[in-house]
Each structure stands twice: as C-alpha cells, then as structure tokens.
C-alpha cells in the first residue's frame, strides 16, 4: 500500500500538460493548479482520520484553485516533497499528499522512470 503511494507515475514528458495527477505522484519541476482535495485514500492509516487530514491540508492552503509547484524531494524513496503553494513553501510526505489532485500546467523535468 505504501509502495504504490510513493512510486511516482511513469509519465512521459510530452503528455504531462493538462494531466490530472495526485500530488503524491509529482516530481520536482511539476507545476499546476489544485483542483480537488478529497478524503478517501487509506482510511485509518493516517493516525488522525481522513476528514481530519483533509482539514489539515486545507488549513495549510492546499485548497482548490491554489497554484502549486513541486520544488524538492527527499533522498530516500523521493520522500518527503517540498512544494511552493502560492507564496509559501510547505513540506509533506507523499502518503499524506494522495488526496490532493493537481492539474499539471507543465512538466519539464518529468522523465521516463
């Protein structure tokens, strides 16, 4: 369950634009707009419940319409990730980022895995 949360999608660069992806599957360089923040992945696995995780994400500014750019990722299993959210920088783990859906505007560094 965790592995699939972490392994980024193998998406070629060409068709990245306009694609809808989970924030957990993005790579540094990906940028776009948040279109949906759900409460559905891995119930009971976040220690706080899905609704609570969703509210925390919202409170940190992961809200529909916010502009987002993935800046950095950790050395081990590319986790956690650091994103620019409007003019803030926020770090989060990929497992907590699954329910944030991003409409990619561009994906210059998106490579075949």
């Amino acid at each position: 369950m965790l592995a699939e949360a972490i392994a980024p999608a193998a998406t070629p660069a060409a068709d990245a634009e306009g694609q809808l992806v989970r924030l957990s599957q993005t790579r540094p360089g990906d940028a776009g707009v948040i279109v949906d923040v759900r409460a559905e992945s891995h119930p009971g696995d976040h220690g706080v419940g899905l609704e609570e995780l969703q509210r925390r994400l919202l409170e940190f500014g992961f809200v529909e319409g916010a502009e987002l750019e993935v800046l950095h990722e950790g050395a081990i299993r590319r986790d956690p990730i650091a994103v620019r959210l409007d003019n803030m920088r926020i770090a989060l783990r990929r497992r907590d980022a699954e329910d944030v859906w991003v409409l990619l505007a561009r994906g210059p560094t998106r490579r075949a895995q």
Binding site: R55, F60, P80, R95, D96
Partner: protein
C-alpha cells in the same frame, strides 16, 4: 468602569508560526517577561508586561503559533482555549493582537476570519513590513481595515518600529470595548475552511498587490540546502561542527564550574566542624548544586546552535532531510536534533524535544534520548576499557580499545532505533501522524533575539531542572552517608549507609549478571550522575581520589573483576537509567511521573537483559 481602569488590560498575541510573533512580544515587553507552564500541561506560558504612555498597565500573553483555532497539538489547544477564555486558571484576553507576516498573508487571513468569530476586540499587526516594502508588495491598509473591521498597524518588531502605534491601538480598544462581543466560533468543517479560503483570496485580490521583487533568496538557498545529496552532506557537516563545539567550547567552563564548586566545598569543609552539617553542605548541597550547574555550559552551547538554526529557518529543512531516514525507525524528522544533542547530555536533548509538536512523536523521542551515549558515560567506559581491554591493534590498523568504545556508541544508537521502532509498533500502532510543515523563508538571525532566547533557556533550565535535580542529588547523598559507621569501623563508611545496605540487599539480584556487592553499592550513588560511579567504586575499593587518578583504580579493578564482569558492567551502562537528573527532566517535560517510571523500568530491564546475555556469553567463552 472603575475595575477596567485599575486592573491591567490583558492582551494575547495570536498568529501563524514564523510570523515574528515572539520578536513582537520581545519588542513590546522587553525584559519584563515571565516564563512558566500553563496549569496541567507542559506548554510554555510566556507573559510580559508593559506600561502605556498614559500609564496604563498591560499584560501580554505570547500564545503558541497556530494555523487554525482548531487545535491539533497541545500547544495549539492552549492557543484556542486562551483565545476563547476557556483555559483553566487563565482569564479571557481583553484584546487580541493578530500577528501576521506581511509578506505571507494568505493563511493568516483565514486565521483572522476565525478570530473575528470569537468576538473579542482585535488589532492586526502586519509584521516584517520592511521586507514587504523591499519586495514592492502593496497593501491597501484602509481597504483591508474596513473589510476586516479591525485596526491595522504595520510593525517591524526586530527594529521596534510601529510598537508605540500598536500599544496605542490596544490601549484604545481596551478602554472602549472591554466587554467584547458574542463568541460565534466553532470548529469549521472542510466546507467552511474552503469558504474562508475563498474569502481570504478575495481580500488578497482586492487589497494586496503581489510583490514586484519577490524573494528569490530562499529558493536559491534551498536549491543547495535541500539537495538530496548535497543537502544531507551539509547537514552532517553542520552537525559535526555543532557536536565538536558542544564538547570543546563547553568543557573549559564546565571544568571551571566543577573546580569552583570543588573549591567552595573545600572552603566550607575547612571552616565548618566535621559532622552532619558539614557533610550536608559540602557533599549534599554544594556538590548537588555543582551537579546542576555543570550541565549549563553544554546546554548553552547546544541551544546557541539550535536557536541560531531555528531563527535562520534551517530547522524545518533539517527535519525535511531527516524525515524519511528517521521515519524508518518510527521517529519524526524533527527528532534528529534532540537525539543528536543527547550525545552531549540527555537533559538538553530532552528539553529540545519541544520542537516536536506531536505528543506521541515527542514521547518516543524522550524515551530513547537517554540511550544515546552521553558524555557522562565516557569516564565509566574509559575506566573499564583501560582496565580490561588490551591496548592492541586488530585487523592491521584498528585500535581494540577504540573499537570497543565505538561498539558501545553503536550499541546505544542501534538500541534507540530499535526501541522507537518497537514503541511505534506496540503502543502506537498505525498512528503515523501526518507530516505537514511550513518551510519558512530564510532570515538573518538577530543577535539580540538569539541572546535573549539563550538567556531564557538558561533560566528555564536553572529553575526547572534545579528544582528536581538538586533534591534528587541530596537524597542520593543522604542514602550514601546515613547512618554513619560505628566507632572503630574498618570497612569504608558507605558500607554502613543505607546505600550500602541497599547494595548488599540487591547484590543477590545482580549476581546472575556477574556483579559483586561492591559494584552494586557503587551503582547507588552512581544514580546521582553516571560518572559518580567511578568515584563510588574508588570509595568501596578504598582507592583514594579515583576520579583524578583512574589508573590506580583500573589496576585494582582488573585484579578484582573477571573480564565477563567488566563487559557486563559496560553493557549495563549502555542501558541503565543511571541518572536521576534525566528522570527528573522527563518528569518536568511530560508533567507526569508515568513517563519517568516507564523509562526507568524499560531501561533497567534492558540493562539487566543485556548484561545477563553479555556475562553468560563471556563466561561460556572462557572470560569468567
């Protein structure tokens, strides 16, 4: 009316973390600050006082930073309850001061909308306004003021700009509207949070023009400091420097403090008649105070680095880099610095766990911190290694003594990871809290704020730890000297004391792990601090001045102990909670006797088990 004019007005500072709230608090109250704990919780309560130009007294409460009134950590619960006036032992604030980083308004605007629902008079302090101006960020203060329905003051807390204006606004509000309005706040649902964001977004669009010259400094630094490989290398380098500094900078003052207390003890001994009073003053009170004070240099050096890195904005980056590495063992990224600090001494390490906001993560870190090999174990390790491990080269270039020392450090680290892993699996199954953390923009730390914070840490340590460590040390002293030996006694005095009797009584229990009664007796005063065991062994084996001349004691020990016993003793010291000060600080930091009790039981069990295995294996291999 008369009451409102005579009692001080109560003001509470609320805002996002990293909004410069504490800097504003310092600018408002200067040195008139008091730090304590809120009743029943371990959250720090910072209160300060100021007097307005008109002579009105105002008390200012610096509440923990939060993104929402919905509390997610004990700190945030304090903020919520204090704002709502529901905190036990606290009165509701008359005026709220919402503190905002003027360059980062989006999240705080949502918080301000929540605060408005509370219905108390409020002032918005747009802090770091100089940076906003430098970036060419334009804010329509008039418009925003009208929409929010509260006065706005621009401030630069680090340069004390706008402070007088802020105080004037607070004074006006406190005078006119002491009653406050109706509280309409309740926990927002996801839909309400979204709604508030839309409102905040609308306000931003209408009244804030984005910066012409946005900050690119932070992005550039992050490119280096958050690099998956380079960033980790820099972090390790930084830690190396920090670790070195804790040892090299802190040792001379620590030695000086030790010498000063030694001299003071000597002076007292020379001028007082022999007897209880002299022993109490010299070996109990003065030595006990010395035992507290001797930690101070290490704590100051360590916190100097921690405060500097925190103010610069690096700590969140360190947590980011270490999160996955620590996460494998069930530890939070932020546990890294406290655990590293524990190599110097578990006490500042445990104090530094305050940076971890999740309670479970913090408790796990506190529980494993004493397993890190602290500097007080070094005298014990050196003594035993010198006495029993031959000084020879193995494998061509490795020194055997050094190898054993390294093994002891590794055993500590490994067991800490194991314990946190097990804690996570057994006690807090599946409960991995979400990890969401702002990476603040980098800022040059102000010398004044670093100094003030350092002073604060020192004061907190002295008062809190002192209140626990000193009495515990006096108890250990009492056990070691009472009752006095009968006239004409031949054995060392400690043999006749309560500690001696306890040691004799416990000896059969520790015999299976190869300890003789002398060792058991020495363990008891050794609870005052690990290195005291060296002096205590010297006492029971009647080797004078063991601490100053460990060579003689090492020779004696090598004649009395088998190799298996020595190895067992080392294994004991890797795990045993041989330090009342640590247990005392755990009590202080968790505000309960439960966690020091858990720590004592698990560490003692682990020590016994490890010593048993080491002893039996060593005996089986012919080391008995």
């Amino acid at each position: 009316m008369s009451e409102t004019l005579t009692r001080p007005a109560r003001v509470a500072l609320v805002g996002n973390p990293n909004s410069g709230k504490t800097a504003l608090f310092n600018a408002l109250t200067g040195s008139r600050q008091k730090v304590a704990n809120y009743a029943g919780v371990t959250v720090e309560r910072k209160e300060g006082h100021l007097t307005t130009a008109g002579g009105r007294a105002i008390s200012v409460l610096d509440l923990p930073g939060t993104y929402s009134l919905r509390a997610r950590s004990p700190d945030e619960a304090v903020t919520r309850d204090a704002v709502l006036g529901k905190l036990a032992g606290e009165q509701a604030p008359d005026v709220l001061v919402a503190v905002a980083d003027a360059t980062n308004l989006r999240l705080v605007l949502r918080l301000i909308l929540e605060l408005k629902a509370v219905g108390r008079p409020m002032v918005l302090a747009l802090n770091m306004f100089d940076i906003a101006q430098r970036q060419g960020l334009r804010i329509d203060l008039e418009g925003l003021q009208r929409e929010l329905g509260c006065p706005i003051v621009t401030t630069v807390a680090t340069r004390r700009r706008g402070i007088a204006e802020l105080v004037a606004e607070v004074d006006t509000l406190a005078r006119t509207d002491m009653a406050g309005g109706q509280n309409r706040w309740r926990e927002p649902t996801a839909a309400e949070i979204r709604e508030a964001h839309r409102e905040a977004q609308r306000l931003l669009k209408a009244y804030v023009r984005p910066p012409e010259r946005p900050d690119t400094f932070t992005g550039k630094i992050d490119g280096v400091l958050l690099h998956p490989v380079g960033g980790l290398a820099i972090l390790l380098g930084l830690l190396f420097v920090m670790f070195q500094a804790v040892f090299s900078w802190a040792t001379p003052p620590a030695d000086a403090i030790e010498a000063a207390f030694g001299a003071l003890g000597g002076l007292a001994a020379d001028n007082l008649p022999d007897g209880w009073l002299q022993s109490f003053l010299v070996d109990g009170l003065i030595a006990g105070l010395g035992a507290v004070m001797v930690f101070l240099p290490q704590i100051l050096v360590l916190f100097f680095f921690i405060i500097l890195l925190e103010d610069f904005g690096y700590m969140a980056r360190a947590a980011f880099l270490m999160d996955r590495i620590m996460g494998g063992a069930g530890l939070h990224g932020r546990a890294f610095i406290p655990l590293l600090s524990s190599f110097a001494c578990a006490i500042p390490g445990i104090m530094a766990t305050r940076v971890i906001d999740n309670k479970r993560d913090r408790l796990t870190t506190i529980l494993v911190a004493p397993l890190m090999t602290c500097s007080a174990r070094i005298p014990v390790y050196t003594l035993i290694i010198a006495a029993f491990i031959p000084n020879q080269t193995v494998g061509g270039f490795l020194n055997l003594q050094g190898l054993v020392m390294f093994g002891l450090y590794a055993a500590g680290i490994f067991s800490a990871l194991l314990v946190s892993f097990l804690t996570r699996r057994i006690f807090w199954r599946g409960a991995v809290e979400p990890f969401l953390m702002e990476l603040p923009t980098y800022k040059v730390p102000s010398a004044e704020s670093v100094f003030r914070n350092l002073l604060l840490r020192a004061r907190i340590f002295m008062s809190r730890a002192g209140r626990i460590i000193l009495p515990l040390n006096i108890i250990v002293w009492f056990l070691s000297v009472f009752p006095a030996p009968p006239p004409g006694a031949t054995a060392p005095a400690i043999d006749y004391s309560l500690a001696g009797r306890l040691g004799h009584a416990l000896a059969p229990l520790l015999a299976p792990i190869g300890f003789n009664w002398q060792m058991t007796v020495a363990l008891i005063p050794g609870f005052a601090a690990r290195e005291v065991a060296v002096a205590a062994l010297g006492t029971v084996y009647a080797v004078g001045n063991a601490e100053a001349d460990p060579g003689a004691l090492a020779t004696t020990l090598s004649q009395h102990w088998s190799l298996a016993t020595a190895l067992s003793f080392l294994a004991w010291y890797v795990f045993a909670p041989q330090c009342v000060s640590t247990l005392g600080v755990v009590k202080r930091e968790t505000n309960s006797w439960l966690w020091p009790a858990v720590m004592f039981v698990y560490m003692t069990s682990a020590a016994y088990l490890a010593s048993f295995i080491v002893y039996r294996v060593a005996v089986a291999l012919g080391g008995g």
